[in-house]
């Protein structure tokens, strides 16, 4: 049953959009939040468990220090107030993948509260997203649905439960209701999520791979007739796990809710699901008192004490935040907004910076990663990082060019060799015997031959029309098997024309 939708432009004109995001970030600690079971992706089912993470009778939770330190780091990055005393509470509900049938989370005394994050939009606008809290909690296990179509929960005959993920530490970042976004709400949400991803990666506290479920978000959307009206009823779309999905969810919910409101229908307070296949959200469970989680302080855990001294210690080790870093590099590398955006879109900032650190110029590094290497990655359908070439390799090739040992063509061939696994640039150069022909006699002979073969071109060059220069250079290159230096060729050609 297709839902009626209002045109996006009309919907955002007619209604004021309020949205919020609850982002779950999986921390990359070695062990779980409450027990010393080692965590790693994959692995045999039910082999990353202690009595605690399997919820065996008599087992008790003990808090992982690194998880708390990671939470503090994130709190600092999000400009949160970090509570001197915070507390873990139990969120009680039954589900087969929950080993204790309650989640240990933070309720009224979270570690991080009341912060904000400034996110930069494509056109350079900075939007401040207010943060309500960023609290620590543990993850549940994983259900595999058997007997239904495509492993979906609907129609499944039964489920198989692997508790390996149970107890992995998460931080849930909850925004305050975000107002004033208007028709840019989806864009702001996307930019916010990417900013969170960049921050947790910069802090080294999460792999933040959305496709592996390291990061996922619940998206709340509501509409109201005007900015001074009370909030409307919101829908909550659960576990959206791609940036595009989050943007589209907001867009879709705005259109769906606007159409309903226009018809005088009420918005149900319900949980919905984003369906990637149909690009729609589907209604789920209507909220009821069945969602009575009966929170209370976990009596197995005592108050978490975070001293000012400890916060200061962590603050001193904080790396530069992504947005500040981007602005700094943009200035250092002398880039335009568009150039910087291209780098970010290509996910090449780290690679370029590392290449520059390895000795290349910013322009040289950018040329390789956004040009040749991006094409290669696209063709192979992999990320730049997954290519078989390192920033050090690229810097080495750049150095060979700067030293006059390779020309562009040979450099490309060298990089191809590196990509093909033939070794370092030096090894590839040695293997193929790449070198620029510096014997001007040989070049001059080749130029003369080219002039002879292309008299019309020579005429044009002599009359000052330099456009067909490439024809000559191409012919010379061919004759010298690419080893001539294009600059040297040009110089000789110019000399002969004028002479």
């Amino acid at each position: 049953m297709a839902e009626k939708l209002m045109k996006y432009a009309d919907a955002t004109k007619k209604y004021d959009v309020v949205f919020g995001l609850e982002t779950h970030v999986e921390l990359c600690t070695k062990t779980k939040l409450f027990c010393p079971a080692e965590v790693h992706f994959g692995g045999e089912p039910n082999t990353q468990l202690t009595p605690v993470s399997l919820g065996l009778p008599g087992s008790l939770p003990v808090v992982n220090k690194t998880a708390v330190d990671y939470a503090i780091k994130l709190g600092l990055a999000l400009h949160c107030e970090i509570a001197e005393w915070s507390q873990f509470a139990r969120k009680n509900y039954f589900y087969p993948d929950m080993p204790r049938d309650y989640q240990i989370s933070q309720y009224d005394k979270p570690t991080n509260g009341n912060g904000y994050l400034d996110v930069e939009l494509e056109d350079g606008t900075v939007f401040r997203v207010p943060i309500e809290r960023a609290h620590i909690e543990d993850d549940a296990g994983k259900n595999t649905h058997v007997g239904g179509a495509d492993g979906r929960i609907e129609g499944a005959d039964h489920s198989l439960v692997d508790y390996n993920r149970a107890g992995v530490p998460l931080i849930e970042i909850v925004t305050k209701p975000i107002e004033g976004a208007g028709d840019r709400a989806p864009e702001i949400a996307g930019a916010y999520m990417r900013a969170i991803r960049d921050i947790v990666r910069a802090l080294g506290i999460s792999h933040a791979r959305m496709e592996q479920g390291n990061m996922r978000a619940d998206v709340n959307v509501s509409l109201r007739p005007s900015a001074d009206a009370p909030y409307g009823t919101r829908s909550e779309t659960k576990n959206v796990n791609s940036f595009r999905g989050i943007e589209k969810t907001i867009q879709y919910e705005i259109r769906r809710q606007a159409a309903r409101l226009d018809e005088g229908k009420e918005i149900l307070q319900e949980t919905r699901h984003w369906d990637e296949a149909t690009q729609t959200t589907a209604g789920g469970r209507v909220k009821s008192d069945a969602d009575d989680y009966r929170y209370f302080p976990d009596p197995d855990l005592v108050m978490l004490h975070i001293t000012k001294e400890h916060i200061a210690e962590i603050e001193a080790q904080m790396p530069e935040m992504p947005r500040e870093r981007r602005n700094r590099l943009k200035a250092e590398w002398n880039l335009t907004d568009v150039q910087m955006r291209d780098i970010l879109n290509a996910d090449a900032l780290d690679l370029i910076e590392d290449t520059v650190k390895a000795g290349a110029t910013a322009a040289g590094a950018r040329k390789w990663w956004l040009g040749e290497l991006s094409r290669e990655a696209n063709a192979k359908g992999v990320s730049l990082e997954e290519l078989n070439v390192t920033p050090a390799d690229v810097a080495e090739v750049e150095k060979l060019i700067a030293d006059g040992k390779l020309n562009d063509k040979l450099a490309k061939q060298t990089v191809s060799g590196v990509l093909a696994g033939e070794g370092t640039p030096a090894e590839v150069v040695a293997k193929h015997g790449y070198k620029i022909v510096e014997d001007t006699g040989a070049i001059e002979a080749a130029v003369d031959a080219a002039f002879e073969a292309n008299p019309d071109v020579v005429e044009k060059l002599k009359s000052g029309n330099m456009k067909p220069m490439g024809v000559i250079i191409g012919a010379v290159m061919k004759a010298t098997r690419g080893q001539a230096d294009a600059k040297a060729v040009t110089k000789i050609v110019m000399g002969k024309i004028k002479g």
């Binding site: 009595p51 399997l54 919820g55 065996l56 009778p57 008599g58 087992s59 008790l60 939770p61 003990v62 808090v63 139990r90 009680n92 039954f94 087969p96 080993p99 204790r100 049938d101 309650y102 489920s159 439960v161 508790y163 008192d289 009575d292 009966r294 929170y295 209370f296 976990d298 009596p299 197995d300 855990l301 005592v302």
Partner: protein
């Protein structure tokens, strides 16, 4: 031979092991013999781990003298374990059908400590299901009988451990005490039962009933034996976040000091609110006589008032079921224990499987508490119920604080009545709950408390005398307890159990 050995205190048994007069294996065999003879009428054990005990005893006996010298004083002496404590490889059920057949893959911290101390484990003792009850009648498996009168309950929830020790089936046992489950059975069976300071003994591996109240403690026939045992099981454990980061207190020294019967300079506080109405006359009489004994030994007796104690039962019956409702959620038919699928006609879903499993696997009292606790925590009632109860908890801690400004140790009867008959209070939960009126305040405040025998009431049944000490000062109660024990035993001409009929011991002979 058996009769003589099993009637010794644990400390005396340990001395004979040390002198080589008996082996640990002989102690184990003697107790297994008594268990065999006594169990038909007492039913204290859910599981006797004879092979494990013999193996552990043999391993201990095989140790060199040097190795033995490194072990605690009670090394080689066997012990029984309340089936609320997890034992690797030995079925652990919490006396519930929902855990029937569960064999844990790990040991509780206290069990690791007992094993390290060379103390063989005789078996797992009966209890009210998930330690919820005051008579052990709520066990899903069997009813334990009071050795003093097998028509009567041994108290609860730790009726199995108390009866086993009272009936000489074990010299020592471990219990768990959430609202009196060690002390009240101690009172009703004429044994010693200690609830240590909350956090003094690791709860890791104690199946949780109410986490902020539960505490593992010793059950014995003498005060010194409990002190020796508590020093073995106590101390910091990093696997329990509520464990106090300090070693056990000097309780053995305090007990030995107390045996000298000199209490000069000690102030004993009589808790006004824990006497009079509701306490059987016979209980009150033995209590008063015992207080007089303390005075005779030089103690100064003062009356103290704890005005908020009258709210403690209410606070307890909110906090405890709230925590129970959450702690017992994990018994859902997924990872261990019972699974019951819904009947035909009911959707065969995971949610329904859980509901029918829990309906079939839990007994009435457990369900009652889960429902009550679910209510107390639910939205809209939390502040009025759980929130208020937590505030009462603060007031009770303040009452104790004030009382300990006036007295070194507080005293009260342990239980308002002596052992009652089976079924007497089963249909009246509130009457059953009243059994714990004098023991609950110590759990709410986390302070240590112990019950020792104060003599027999008019009905010929044991009466318990309770000492309560300040937090993390457990030794403070051991001294007057040992003194009172010595003074009373002098009056009685020996231990209280001399007055008990023990036909099973004749059978074991």
């Amino acid at each position: 031979m058996t009769n003589e050995i099993v009637k010794l205190s644990a400390a005396e048994m340990a001395a004979k092991v040390k002198s080589g007069e008996v082996s640990s294996r002989e102690l184990v065999d003697a107790h297994l013999e008594v268990i065999e003879a006594a169990e038909p009428s007492i039913k204290a054990f859910l599981k006797v781990s004879a092979d494990v005990a013999r193996e552990q005893a043999d391993a201990f006996d095989a140790k060199s003298a040097d190795e033995k010298a490194q072990l605690p004083e009670l090394a080689g002496v066997p012990i029984a374990i309340k089936d609320m404590i997890v034992t690797k490889g030995i079925e652990t059920t919490a006396a519930s059908k929902i855990l029937e057949g569960w064999v844990p893959p790990y040991d509780a911290t206290v069990i690791e400590k007992l094993k390290a101390a060379g103390m063989p484990i005789l078996g797992k003792t009966n209890l009210d299901e998930f330690a919820q009850g005051s008579s052990t009648e709520h066990s899903a498996y069997q009813t334990t009988h009071n050795p003093w009168d097998t028509e009567r309950v041994p108290g609860g929830s730790g009726g199995g451990s108390a009866s086993a020790v009272a009936a000489f089936e074990a010299p020592l046992a471990l219990g768990t005490d959430t609202g009196g489950s060690i002390r009240q059975p101690g009172a009703l069976t004429g044994t010693v039962g200690v609830k240590p300071t909350y956090g003094g003994v690791s709860r890791f591996g104690a199946i949780a009933m109410a986490s902020s109240l539960d505490q593992i403690g010793p059950v014995s026939r003498t005060v010194l034996d409990s002190a020796l045992l508590q020093e073995i099981i106590g101390g910091h454990d990093r696997r329990d976040s509520t464990s106090i980061p300090e070693g056990p207190r000097p309780m053995v020294a305090a007990a030995r000091e107390g045996a000298k019967r000199d209490l000069k300079g000690m102030k004993v506080g009589l808790v006004k609110e824990l006497s009079g109405d509701g306490f059987q006359p016979g209980v009150q009489a033995r209590f008063n006589e015992a207080v007089k004994k303390l005075e005779e030994m030089g103690a100064e007796v003062v009356e103290v008032s704890c005005p908020h104690f009258e709210y403690s039962l209410g606070a307890y019956y909110i906090i405890m079921p709230s925590e129970v409702s959450s702690n017992l959620a994990r018994y859902d038919g997924m990872r261990y224990g019972l699974r019951v699928m819904p009947p035909a006609g009911v959707p065969q879903t995971a949610a329904n499987m859980m509901s029918y499993t829990r309906e079939a696997g839990f007994g009435d009292e457990v369900k009652r508490r889960i429902i009550l606790g679910t209510y107390a925590l639910s939205a809209g009632y939390y502040d009025a119920w759980y929130g208020s109860a937590q505030k009462v908890r603060t007031l009770i801690i303040q009452d104790f604080h004030n009382a300990f400004q006036q007295a070194d140790v507080l005293v009260a009867p342990t239980s308002p009545s002596t052992a009652f008959k089976f079924g007497e209070k089963m249909d009246d939960p509130l009457a059953m709950y009243m059994n714990d009126i004098a023991t609950i305040p110590a759990n709410l405040a986390g302070v240590p408390a112990m019950s020792i025998p104060a003599g027999l009431s008019d009905d010929g049944l044991p009466v318990g005398f309770q000492f309560i000490a300040p937090q993390q000062r457990d030794e403070v109660m051991y001294k007057p307890a040992a003194a009172l024990e010595a003074a009373l035993e002098e009056d009685w001409g020996g231990p209280i159990w001399q007055s008990m009929n023990t036909p099973w011991l004749n059978a074991a002979e």
